[in-house]
Amino acid sequence: MSSRLTAKRVIIYICALLVALWTLVPFYWLLNLSFMFNVEMNSAITHFYPHDFTWSNYVRLFNRHATGPGGVDLLPIPHGQFIRTGLKNSLIVAGVTTPLTLLIAMPCAYVLGRYVFPFRNSIVMAILLSRAYPAIAAIIPLYKMWSSLGLRGTHHGLVIVYLSITVPLVVWIMMGFFNALPRSLESAARVDGCTRFQTLYRVVLPTSLPGIAACAVIAFLLVWNDFLFAFLLATGSSALTFPPTLSNMFFQYSYPTEASAATVLGVLPVAIVAFVFQRWIRKLNIVDPL
């Protein structure tokens, strides 16, 4: 019996190790490349760790010189300024979209989760279908509409497009969340003299703060991580967000080491945020982050 138990423990730990490797090795490899000089990467078979560890790829993205192997002067990465603008634009667009999303989505999610009213089921169905609408299919009409409305290549044009993605998702998630809240709390609020509106903003929303915060993180990640919409609706403009800027650098102007460092810059903040908030996000019991 005990030897069978031990065997089971061993298998569990081996599996856990494999899962950890599967999850982390790709990240490790990205970091590995980003800490290498281009010379080292090019020299021979790729090294499994940087033999000549350097921050130069990061430093050079911020318009600084660096010293290469053998005292060679390395120029700043020319595309670095676009990367920096891209990061700033991403921050602006995601930073504006997130609070707007919460403002628009929360009241609707609440009534969808709690009340029965005309068109309720139509709205739920529309939200569900909008989640399945392939982005590439959605962009074709939006491209034409945004061109004629002069919204292409603007911050607000992107914000509006992103709202059409984040709002249905957040409504969908919070609908279930509100539905699962104990009903007696709202009854108590009504008996305590709150109208429906007051019940929502004085009792329901304050007690749902963890869920709302998790939704804020999800909405922010969704915008921050989007490539396609920005790529097709803002390419060539000063409003271009980080992902398509990175893609330009990736395909046109860079060595893998430099592109790795730029990718880490885009990925690291969200990875940290996701790691910190994962407990809350998991509690939401998300059905549908397509």
């Binding site: 999850t23 029965v116 009213f117 399945a132 590439i136 609908m175 790795s260 990718t263 998300i286």
Partner: protein, 317 residues
């Protein structure tokens, strides 16, 4: 949560006629108005507009824009490129769905066991999902490419190949991208199924032991019945994610080598945004849409069935 309607509709199902002229119906409508507006203006209208575009021959390079009826649809259905692309999408989606669902199930079962570092590992496996699809594409390109890749380097160092091999060749590229996709979306299924595994009453496993079920029997008769609903939903979510893949392809192979990874989304992208033929692209997008809608309808059916189960369960209690 998956319910499509409040758990106890009866509690507030009748509109109220009192108090400031406000009724449940009006309150509900008022608060969902902004979302309804977004859905109509930014989802429904473009949806219909794309159909209108599909009826026109639009070529932005030459400034052509004229009504051609169903001509674009005819061209789409007759095109060998589109047929190939659709077939690739199906192949790709099946692979992604199978890999990511099985891997998700395996990881969920593992994380439901007690071991040191479980909490940390549970948090860690979320990371590939939190990383954007385009970043996943870059990461995997670096892993697989002959010049920078870890996998080719390992194969070479182990002496399996005499030089770092080209893994992204015509035969294998689609599968490698499907594996990258699996890395990215499997965590989603894990959280889904883990949540369900954690609510299975432990007593059922004890009863299973008393009834002399072995580990496989306990999985079949105790675990699987509980997992059925989330498993189905995960299957469909993974399928939709796979059908809609774009970033991953764009960053790993850009449709190549040759046309080996030109899936339907890439075909639409090429037609509409590289060849700038928006009308034809819209028509092709509709074909893709039909595929997605079919999968989504299956999704809705599963959810509704689940909801029915929940509500009857409550009635019984």
């Amino acid at each position: 949560m998956a319910e499509l309607s409040p758990a106890s509709q009866d509690q507030s199902s009748r509109p109220r006629r009192f108090g400031l002229g406000m009724t449940d119906a009006r309150f509900g409508l008022l608060l969902s108005l902004p979302v309804a507006a977004i859905l109509i203006l930014l989802n429904l209208y473009p949806f219909l507009y794309s159909f209108w575009l599909a009826l026109r021959d639009i070529d932005l390079r030459f400034g052509i824009d004229e009504f051609t009826g169903l001509d674009n649809f005819r061209k789409t259905l007759e095109s060998q490129d589109v047929r190939d692309a659709m077939w690739r999408t199906v192949k790709y989606s099946v692979q992604v769905t199978v890999y990511s669902t099985l891997l998700g199930l395996g990881m969920a079962i593992l994380l439901n066991e007690k071991f040191h570092g479980r909490t940390l590992l549970t948090a860690l496996i979320l990371l590939p999902w939190a990383v954007s699809t385009y970043a996943a594409g870059i990461v995997w390109r670096f892993l697989l490419s002959t010049e920078t890749g870890l996998f080719p380097a390992v194969l070479f160092r182990l002496g399996i190949t005499d030089r770092p091999p080209n893994l992204m060749n015509i035969d294998t590229a689609l599968t490698w991208i499907a594996i990258a996709h699996t890395w990215h979306i499997a965590p989603l299924g894990v959280f889904f199924m883990l949540a369900t595994l954690q609510v299975i009453p432990q007593d059922l496993y004890r009863v299973g032991r008393i009834d002399k079920l072995n580990a496989i029997g306990r999985f079949r008769h105790v675990t699987l019945p509980y997992l059925k609903a989330p498993l189905l939903i995960v299957l469909i979510l993974n399928t939709i994610s796979a059908v809609n893949v774009f970033d991953l392809i764009y960053f790993t192979t850009a449709g190549g080598p040759g046309a080996a990874t030109r899936v339907m989304t890439y075909e639409v992208y090429t037609t509409a945004f590289l060849n700038l033929r928006l009308g034809l692209g819209a028509a092709e997008a509709w074909l893709l849409l039909i595929l997605v809608i079919l999968v989504t309808l299956a999704y809705v059916r599963v959810l509704y069935r689940k909801e029915k189960k929940i509500s009857t369960g409550e009635a019984a209690a």
